[in-house]
């Protein structure tokens, strides 16, 4: 074993600590560089992860995995973190003296995600999950003067704790039957017992909470709305992808049980999630709540790939998770810019954005259309993989539900576009985001279009990453 295989994790942990210390040491005026330090640190982590892509090694007797699958998700989380830092810096700056801890909590949440994706053992996984979740509790309640934010933080804490308990209970039942918590060994000690079935279901429920699958989704809109918007963005993209990374690894490798087809349970959950997420999104008037419901529905689409469980489906999970980073964060970045300028997150605030700031409106439209799955944007290719996987695995009805509800989703995504291009607004001052936000926006736009037009490289990357299944 080489310690260099853990280089990204170590670097991220050090970065988080460094940011905490810097916040204490630097005078108030000097803390403007915190964002830059975070950004540079994450760029280094990105390079380290990229360098590690392609190695396949089990560390500490399989407790921790340094493999392509984990590396793919590491890249994903770090990219998401980078985009959140870039697009959120103006917002975070407004937090004043408490901005420095904000960065370090973001980095610790990121570390938690990375551990989740690479964990080869259930307790390690749980620790990663808690590290991420606890960081998010704090980040959610970060606006101490804002009732919604504090309420959201508290709700998230209570419900998160319950779901953690459920997940842990599930893990303990699986351990009780199989006698091990190492993911790669569980399958060998698999027995069909009621306790095992209950354990699997409780674990599904635990992950379903993180993925905000119906009926474990109810926290999401409240928390998404209350949390500071960069946190919402990171929560919607990073936390969800981390849960998928762990969920897929555990269930595909450890828990195949011929007598109990949990795939069907997931299929039903996916269908409910897609239907409810899309339908309720139709009637939202707040952009954060709209994106919350949209992201509930999106998780449902990704779950379809896992239900399929074949090459196409799993490739689709990874592919979609990656493009979702760009398309969703692009939309959130525009929402952040609008909120910074107008102080509002209502869809009303987007009226006439097409005239006030054509570039923002165009990027928002492209990102939303990608989420809706309109060709030639990235979302189309992603959904194509996911639904082809489902059809290949015989879940024709599920693919049908997904396609039908994608059509419904076009309606609410275009409602935002309609407000931007057809609506009129009394305030016609142009919205000019700062440079770092603009960079983030351009990256999101470029990636959303490029992945859609030329999907082969990302597809090949995802293909490599799913070799372990």
């Amino acid at each position: 074993m080489q310690i260099s295989m853990l280089a990204p994790e170590i670097e991220i942990a050090l970065l988080g600590l460094l940011l905490l210390v810097l916040g204490l040491l630097l005078p108030h005026k000097g803390r403007g560089i915190m964002g830059t330090v975070t950004f540079l640190g994450l760029v280094i982590a990105l390079l380290l992860s990229a360098a590690g892509f392609g190695q396949e090694e089990a560390l500490f007797n399989g407790v921790y995995q340094a493999d392509s699958y984990g590396s793919f998700f590491k890249l994903l989380f770090i990219l998401a973190g980078l985009l959140v830092v870039l697009s959120g810096s103006a917002y975070i700056q407004r937090l004043g003296r408490r901005a420095n801890e904000f960065y370090s909590f973001l980095v610790f949440a990121l570390l938690g995600m990375v551990v989740m994706a690479a964990a080869g053992e259930l307790i390690t996984l749980y620790i990663g999950l808690e590290l991420m979740t606890i960081s998010f509790y704090i980040l959610t309640a970060y606006l101490l003067n804002n009732e919604l934010s504090v309420e959201a933080g508290l709700k998230y804490l209570i419900l998160g704790a319950i779901s953690s308990a459920v997940l842990l209970f599930g893990i303990s039942l699986v351990y009780a039957v199989s006698g091990t918590t190492v993911i790669s060994e569980i399958a060998g000690h698999m027995q069909f017992q009621p306790a095992m079935v209950a354990g699997i279901i409780l674990m599904i429920a635990g992950f379903a909470f993180k993925l905000s699958l119906v009926p474990f989704h109810m926290w999401a809109p409240d928390i998404y709305q209350g949390a500071p918007i960069p946190v919402t963005a990171f929560l919607a993209v990073g936390s969800k992808a981390a849960a998928f990374a762990a969920f897929v690894r555990v269930f595909m490798l450890a828990l195949p049980l011929p007598q109990f087809e949990w795939g069907l349970v997931l299929a039903v959950l996916a269908a409910c999630t897609i239907i409810l997420g899309n339908l309720v999104a139709l009637v939202q008037t707040d952009i954060k709540r709209l994106l919350a419901y949209s992201s509930i529905a999106q998780a449902g689409y990704i779950l379809v790939g896992m239900v399929a469980g074949n090459e196409y489906g799993l490739k689709g999970v990874l592919f979609y998770a990656m493009l979702y980073v760009f398309s969703n964060l692009g939309a959130f970045a525009v929402a952040t810019a609008v909120e910074v300028e107008t102080g509002s997150t209502s869809i009303e605030a987007f009226k006439a954005l097409g005239k006030r700031s054509p570039m923002l409106a165009a990027i928002m439209t492209v990102c939303l259309l990608s989420l809706a799955g309109i060709p030639p944007l990235a979302g189309f290719v992603g959904k194509f993989y996911l639904f082809s996987g489902a059809i290949g695995a015989g879940y024709l009805w599920l693919a049908f539900v997904g396609l039908l509800m994608s059509m419904v989703s076009v309606y609410y995504y275009l409602m935002v576009a309609k407000a931007m291009y057809i609506g009129t607004n009394d305030d016609m001052t142009p919205i000019k985001p700062d440079t770092s936000t603009r960079v983030a926006l351009w990256i999101c736009l470029a990636a959303t279009v490029l992945i859609g037009v030329y999907p082969a490289p990302l597809s090949a990357l995802a293909q490599t990453a799913i070799q372990l299944f």
């Binding site: 709700k155 419900l159 209950a198 109810m218 007598q259 309720v280 082809s388």
Partner: protein, 625 residues
Amino acid sequence: MMETSVQYAWIIAILPFIAFALIGLFLHRWPRLSAALSILAIGIAFLISLLVSLAVFSSEGNLVYEAAARWLSMPGLQVDMGILVDGLTAVMLIVVTTVALLVQIYSLGYMHGDPGFASYYAYQSFFAGSMLGLVLANNFGQIFVFWELVGLASYLLIGFWFGRNSAKEAAKKAFITNRVGDFGFLLSILFLQILFGTLNFNGLAGEIAGYTNTGILIGIAILMLAGPVGKSAQFPLHVWLPDAMEGPTPVSALIHAATMVAAGVYLIARAYFIFSSTPQALLAIAVIGGFTALFAATIAIVQNDIKRILAYSTLSQLGYMVMAMGVGAMTAGMFHLMTHAFFKSLLFLGAGSVIHALHDEQDIWKMGRLAGKMPVTTWTFVIGALALSGIPPLSGFWSKDEILLGAYASGHIGLYILGTIVAFLTAFYMFRLIFVAFFGSGEGGLKAHESPAVMSVPLVILAVMAIIAGFVGSPLMNNVFAHWVSYPGAVHHNPSLGIMAVSSLVAVAGIILAWAVYQKKMVDVAAVKTRFNGLYQLLYHKYYIDEIYQWLIDHLIDGTAKVLFWFDVYVINGLVNGIAALTGMAGQVLRYTENGQVQTYAMYMFAGIIVIIGLVMMAGFAIVL
């Protein structure tokens, strides 16, 4: 250096697209900078094309380079993005970049002061890039993508002055008419993919050589032919091209010479392995081409608008090229495409120069006496007209002669005679134009002045090309062109002095007749018009094809549309609105599950777990039992 240059041929198509993107995104506020960037991009593309072509030509057409990257991959469908460089590509690269470069330089003067100057150059770059991408493509999928982009670019440029209703209408007409042809083309591509599992040219050529079901091949060839019939404006989809002159005149030059109509002829040449495998398809091509050539030439005789005359002349010449393809003289068709590109862009740019000088006057009868005022424009125009008429030793003579020779030697005597008649008509209508507009007694030209150098220099360069471009395909240079562009099994016929003499004589006869009628006024034109009024009206109204189409659209299509509209409003909309209302209501109802209470949320979670466990247990017991 030269041989390795082919590996970088892809840059040729990328450069104009980069210019387009930069202008569209960042530079559109600085018109001069936009124009400079656009010209720089096409200029470099021209230089690379020159290197690539020299490499290909110096190898006598033996150098073939193909490279591809996988664009999309799934079971049963592999789509590549790639380039294929051979003699055919090289010729097209030279033609497209030369004409596009000169047109863009010329436009500096012509479009000077236009409020849309920057977007004009953005579109120009887009147009050139699309055409170059089409020419470089190594498979049908890619060629179709660029084919459509060319269509889009032409739509944008024809409708460039969208404030004018006629420009808008013309742009729509061009786009829609082309769509009809594209539909057939796309179908043929789909059939190829289904039957052979590849769209790569070389791959398909191998597959088709061993394919025996000629019925299907004929079907595919005829469907594919619809594409060129639309894009290269062959009868019956020719109607868009004359209207397309609503765009700025340099755009007409581009469309008529290099970037739009040439695409159709190029496609026939590129897909020649399909067409040449079925004599029936070839015959169809030859007949369509020959008919269009004659049909358009007769219309050109009676038109009064300078651009309209040239437009019908293009139709007629395209018919020539297509006819050449049909009689097996693919090389001659491409040769004529090349020479035509030079002299037709020359003629259009010359016409633009006149129109510019006369403040948008396009009626040749309102011109006259231009020769003294605009010497450069006049004499370059005359050179272009002589080349088009096929007067030796100008370029048009050699290429036209190759086509006539091809038709004659392959036994299509009827088409040969038809081609000769067209040659006569061509010379007649071109010199009718010249004697009326440039040397006529009208007063319109008195106030004219020569165009600035940015406009006249491209004219001179093109005039030189119109004179010399034909030598590469002449016996004087051992017909090297035939080595560059050819196909397996091509038969080359020895030049026939007789055919050369006949075609030259009829061309001279046409010129003399035009001179006698319009310069010396030996015949009373008005009297002839009245005498043959029926025929005159028929020709003047372009055989009433537009009117027939309009009638069909009004009665057949609109009628069907009305029925469908009723169905749509009352049945489909009713259903859709009903479903939408239901969906919205469902959303309203479901949102009430969300009440903000943590206890409720936790309850739903546990209820969910219990329901799942309950259902699984019921199903599970069934399995165990």
